[in-house]
Symmetry: C2
């Protein structure tokens, strides 16, 4: 456990992203570019002090509090200001806007930290008995309102933080399967697996803070998921507990024993049960990694190249293609100084690439096969007109792969609305989906950028970032309009409402469009069965 | 459609397997071997004549019959003897025993053949109104009692045959996705795809008769599923209709929009709805195929080699490893004469392989990559002590890949109980699972053979065949005891109760052991939502 000292802290700053000790700042050269393209406040507005966050009175029924203390211990039940505030919201733009302004109205009445599966069952039983809502909470990184306590119709709301249910409990090397407790954070899991020579290979941008349970509950995808597979591909078994019982599906490679109930719990977002552990496919740690940049002449050409790679089973483990706007933004915001951006542009011009779309391609594995796969993929990219930029852009991407959320805080402080959203569609419809969502967002934001981040044989995901000058005092309305326009456009163009951010509170109104009335009815029936009082994460996934 | 003349007939012989024009016979040299190892009747007992099959009176309420005729046309509602008998059972051993003996007690009151999705909805509505059970029927190849009409508690039972809902309706070449109607048979689909240069790559042993809807509803796996993926991997969207509504999940490459409801309908075995079409991932037809034989020194060594192949992403598209008993049986029953078996043995002896385990490995794809993959896999096999036998055994396997079910009829006629069952487990537990099931079956059958037929990174399937002298007049009890012993052993050893045969009637008593009480409750809740009267395929998947 000596390594634990190097792991990120378990608790993020309450008003923004990440490690409180880490201070990211936009590079000087980025400010004029942003001012011109988006607009910036001249001065930085800091978040209010923790003491000034407005909180509702903590209203946990006294006998329930006693019961929770009996289950989780005195230090396992917290209703102090710091605990309530840090559990009041996830990390979406509207969450950060509210928290920075000191609006803690959504804070839970208390936070309970059970230590094991059985304690979770006891907490759920105690809360169900008095109809107190329970919000499961892992890393707290949701960007779709997935962990925001909503108390509509409930006397009180408790956040059930799984962070004490932690650790790698079993590593079956022959079956390359690890059993991991739900509260295990990304870096802690990778450290434990690395000590045995393995990796999960799951690296969402939120990697430093995500919990395994949260990843399973939200079908998360990581930056290397084109190679390692999404979290839903990695789950081979799981254990969850609900007010009406528990679901225990042991690790199995495949089965035809009826509907796959694992797929009902995966993605259930805390509404059907609390996932307490998962059996996950792991792989030997790659001997070598190689991340490279390529410049594609256009997004259309790049998409076609990615389609060829995916359909020929040649997709790199990391496959990411930025559109022209994101390519420009990346160069403009490059953190190591404007010199670098200028040098990069000069280099590209020298290679005959005036403009274009930057792709980051990453390979992991044994050196020989990595080389073969890389060369085969590079040949496909070359035929699409790609110019190889070498490993420099790859290393820069690797260096900053988890850093973007820190920059977002800086942008918010400068009065910028910055948000991301994602979808996925079949290849045939992807160009139209891209144009439709881009056009919808362009009406709300002067800067809209996109990348293709995950590829499949039948389609790919699109990940949009959009920036606009925040309208002070109307930030939430402004965001809501942009979000609704984009999601309406996604639905109209046949995309999925979310590729890896999950549904949460933000996408719930569009779930009926995604799965139909019968789909919603099936989810409600499953919930009624496992959670008859409806206490689990109310208002998420299924709109009230 | 000129090719249609070469397709197998759509209706199988009612008392056994396959094309009525195809007459398989055990080779002469096989009889003494079988007589010694298993026991054989001296004379062949033919099935009773169709006219002598005992049928219950057709008891469809007259007004329902009129309604069905209005929906499906006069020729779309059949209650003649031939139609009722051919829809009375699937193709499992107990089904064949009963049908050969003229026991048609399970025949439906009528067979309805709606022509499209809307007509299916109308049939379900009409039947639900008067509480008449409905059994969805595609190719009728179930070996687990999945299509047997059970009338417990219902006034009557109608088989809903989807065979008129047929054809490839859309091929999106850019997304490599085909939309296929449920009644499309394997050969018809492959012919339609081949005309456009594509393949689904799904070849269960029952390929010649399976329907796409049946494959989706049962999570079937094919002989090349180690390469192409199981049916559940190939489904990217589907449409189903239930008495209480319809489920329409368009093709999507991936999504995080909550639980994957596609995985609830896939494998639902006609109990939640009637699947009317599916969007399936297709691939370009392989330029070349190459099937080879390898002899492994032992099953343990072979399993380890397969594990290495699967975990290094080197599994051949067809991966099949027989144990010693199955290897011996294959040589003994080889259809082209005992000379061949003797020659094969002499050849093996010459290569220093006195005994061992035969593996069939198949590669499909472009010639260059096929060669690379083949050589890398052969190197792994070589390190495990495999002796390469060349393409001869591969060609023999390919020639007979869909023929085994015909031999079964011959064995039944000779008084042999012959049955197959399958499971899957994690690699670490696979040797124990193999031993446990083998030991359980050995108490009921003198000949028990097994092969590993599908490999995954975390585990593999085991497919058992067992033969015993049938006890005349007690065949069903004899079978039931062997089946129960094997399934109990599977559950105790941590295997899944079925890898690709589905649950049906035969495995339903063990489903609670597979998915737990909450799992069963979830399935019942889903059924109550979509099929509140419980008319859809009663007694299947969920035991009464």
């Amino acid at each position: 456990m000596a390594e634990r000292g190097r792991l990120p802290p378990r608790e993020m700053r309450w008003w923004g992203w990440g490690d409180p000790a880490h201070h990211a700042a936009l590079p000087d050269h980025a400010l004029p570019w942003l001012r011109e393209r988006v607009g910036l406040d001249d001065r930085v507005t800091p978040p209010v002090a923790l003491e000034r966050v407005r909180l509702p009175p903590a209203g946990l029924p006294e006998n329930l509090r006693d019961r929770l203390v009996a289950i989780a211990g005195a230090d396992g039940v917290r209703d102090d200001r710091a605990a309530r505030v840090v559990h009041a919201a996830g990390k979406g733009y509207p969450d950060l806007v509210r928290m920075r302004a000191g609006d803690g109205a959504s804070a839970p009445d208390a936070v309970v930290l059970p230590a094991d599966h059985e304690s979770v069952a006891a907490v759920l039983e105690a809360c169900a008995r008095v109809r107190v809502a329970v919000v499961p909470f892992g890393g707290g990184t949701s960007v779709v309102g997935g962990v925001e306590p909503l108390r509509d119709g409930f006397a009180a709301v408790v956040t059930l933080d799984v962070n004490r249910i932690e650790g790698l409990t079993e590593l079956d090397e022959r079956s390359q399967t690890a059993v991991v407790r739900a509260g295990t954070r990304g870096p802690a899991l990778e450290a434990a697996l690395a000590a045995r020579g393995y990796t999960l290979g799951h690296f969402p941008q939120s990697f430093e803070f995500v919990s395994v349970g949260g990843c399973v509950a939200t079908r998360s995808a990581g930056q290397a998921s084109s190679g390692y597979g999404r979290m839903d591909d990695l789950v081979v078994g799981l254990r969850a507990v609900a007010p009406a019982g528990e679901v225990d599906l042991p690790a199995r490679p495949a089965s035809a024993a009826g509907p796959d109930l694992r797929e009902l719990l995966v993605g259930s977002e805390g509404t059907l049960g609390v996932i307490t552990s998962a059996a996950l496919r792991v792989r030997p740690r790659p001997e070598r990694t190689r991340y490279e940049g390529f410049m594609l002449p256009s997004l259309a050409a790049g998409m076609e190249a990615l389609r060829a790679l995916a359909q020929q089973d040649l997709a790199p483990d990391v496959t990411r293609l930025s559109d022209e706007a994101e390519t420009e933004m990346s160069l403009a915001l490059a953190g190591t100084g404007g010199v670098k951006g200028r040098l990069a542009r000069a280099y590209l011009r020298g290679r005959g690439v005036e403009e274009g779309c930057l792709a980051i391609m990453g390979w992991e594995g044994d050196p020989e096969r990595l080389r073969t796969r890389r060369d085969e993929a590079a040949a496909v990219l070359g035929r699409a007109g790609a110019v190889a930029l070498g490993q420099g852009p790859g290393r820069a991407w690797e260096h900053g792969r988890f850093a973007a959320p820190y920059l977002r805080d800086e942008l918010l402080a400068r009065g910028v609305m910055v948000e991301t959203l994602e979808t996925a569609g079949q290849w045939a419809g992807l160009p139209d989906l891209y144009r439709a969502v881009g056009a919808a967002l362009a009406a709300h934001a002067p800067l809209v950028a996109c990348h293709v981040s995950h590829v499949y044989p039948t389609g790919a995901s699109l990940y949009f970032t959009f920036l606009a000058r925040a309208r002070r005092g109307e930030e939430l309305d402004q965001w809501r309009r942009a979000k609704a326009a984009a999601t309406d456009a996604i639905v109209a163009a046949g995309g999925t409402i979310t590729h890896h951010h999950a549904v949460g509170r933000d996408h719930a109104p569009w779930l009926p469009a995604e799965v139909g009335a019968s789909g919603v009815a099936l989810l409600r029936a499953a919930k009624a069965e496992l959670d008859p009082e409806g206490i689990l994460n109310p208002g998420k996934l299924l709109a009230a």
